[in-house]
């Protein structure tokens, strides 16, 4: 017997809770093998792709290697291949369906294909790659000051380090630029980082749970990490990473959202209508981080232009 987990047709941070609910329900079903069904998938954001890998890893840890039905649409499955998804999925899932042997990341939109992050060396490689690939796009297409591209690499580095330092396992990162019609009608760059590790609550529990008392839980742990800048380490200089990411995103009107366990916290810029904190979400292993940096425009009468 297998238990089915449907991958949403439009798989991104908005539909992630639907996926997490299906995962939580299926994972509760004992030792039965899991089948992740993505045959109807029409689109997946980097967040969706790295989240799916995290679910695959968690499922693998629990028992038999899960099954994955690849998207039936040739364009979709080709994109997933170019984004580097199947290269990583091959180790986690028994993949069914026609998967093209596409070369990874040949187009300019994929600034960083799905890349595993397990150790500090991986973070070095990610930072090096992103600086080679992203600088031109960040300045010419997003209108960021060329100096801001280094800040982008810093934010990316700190996001990845959360996995190395806190997850207790490996994870994945992906970076992509695309036109975001849904919200902004602007270009955006999205950084997505996901792991199936211990999550923020477990990581911070030994040092923070007492302080929060009855309020302690996934939401309190996210609040402590992102808003208060606390770390599980007592070292006085810790907690710099997320604080630095917040500063960078505030400067470029970007968004950060972190989902861990049953909660999700976000620093919401004025162009978005997300809620700052959600609790009681379907449980999902590890942590999932989303950073969005929008194209910079100046508001002028009769239209907008890049700064």
């Amino acid at each position: 017997m297998t238990r089915l987990i449907e991958v949403p047709t439009q798989f991104d941070d908005r539909s992630f809770d639907q996926f997490a609910a299906a995962y939580a329900q299926a994972a509760d079903g004992g030792d039965e093998r899991l089948l992740f069904d993505a045959h109807a998938a029409e689109w997946a954001s980097p967040y969706g792709l790295v989240g799916l890998l995290a679910a695959g890893e968690a499922a693998t840890r629990k028992g038999e290697r899960p099954l994955l039905t690849a998207p039936a649409n040739p364009d979709v499955v080709s994109y997933w291949a170019r984004a580097g998804f199947f290269r990583e999925a091959a180790d986690l899932f028994e993949v069914h369906g026609k998967v093209p042997k596409a070369k990874v990341a040949t187009e300019s939109e994929v600034l960083l294909p799905v890349t595993p992050v397990r150790a500090a060396e991986d973070v070095h490689a990610v930072v090096s790659t992103i600086q080679q690939r992203a600088s031109a796009i960040l300045s010419s297409e997003l209108g960021l000051d060329p100096k801001a591209t280094m800040g982008f690499a810093m934010a990316l580095s700190e996001s990845c380090q959360n996995i190395v330092e806190h997850a207790g396992t490996g994870g994945w990162v992906a970076v992509q630029a695309y036109n975001w019609r849904r919200k902004l009608a602007r270009r955006v760059v999205v950084i997505a980082v996901a792991d199936a590790g211990v999550g923020f609550r477990h990581s911070l529990e030994p040092t923070q749970a007492k302080r929060f008392g009855e309020r302690w839980g996934d939401a309190a742990a996210l609040e402590a990490a992102l808003i208060q800048g606390v770390s599980r380490f007592r070292d006085p200089g810790r907690g710099q990473g997320l604080a630095g990411i917040r500063r960078y995103l505030a400067r470029w009107e970007g968004k950060v959202a972190i989902r861990s366990g049953t909660a999700r916290i976000a620093i919401v810029p004025r162009w978005d209508d997300d809620v700052p904190l959600k609790e009681g979400l379907p449980a999902f292993p590890g942590s999932q981080v989303l950073l969005i940096i929008p194209e910079q425009v100046s508001e002028k009468a009769g239209g907008s232009s890049k700064q």
Binding site: A120, H124, A125, V127, M150, M154, G241
Partner: protein
């Protein structure tokens, strides 16, 4: 100087100062030849990306635990953006030498004047007409 140490400290050939383990390795290499309470100069020329974790691991920890005055040179704006909040948050400061040779504080504002005074007292720096402070030729 930092760039050279970085090349020794990490296995690959990287120019970026990112991650705590890298920062720790670089700092430990620097500390090996550095007597406590000394005045030290670190040159960041050739360093690419510096992240907050590495800035804390190298710069803040050297200032907190090892050196009396730390003078940084070869800093880019991006390096400053990583170092400044890390030091300010810890109430620490370093001196940095701008491209025009002028010395200025970086980090928390309170400790910086004492660092400049220390260099002047030791005749390593001098106030020039106009009020700015530069290293002396010696």
């Amino acid at each position: 100087m930092v760039h050279a140490v970085l090349q020794q400290a990490v296995a690959g050939f990287y120019t970026d100062l990112v991650t705590r383990p890298t920062g720790r390795a670089v700092r430990e290499n620097i500390e090996r030849d550095l007597p406590a309470g000394t005045i030290a100069v670190m040159d960041f020329t050739g360093v690419g990306c510096l992240d907050y974790s590495c800035a804390d691991e190298i710069v803040a920890k050297l200032v907190r635990d090892k050196v009396k005055v730390l003078l940084l040179r070869g800093l880019t704006d991006a390096h400053r953006e990583a170092i400044e909040p890390v030091l300010a948050g810890a109430g620490l400061a370093v001196l940095c030498e701008r491209a025009d040779g002028v010395l200025e504080g970086l980090g928390a504002s309170e400790p910086a004047p004492a660092l400049l005074d220390e260099l002047i007292e030791r005749r390593l720096a001098a106030r020039i007409p106009g009020g700015s402070i530069r290293l002396t030729a010696a």
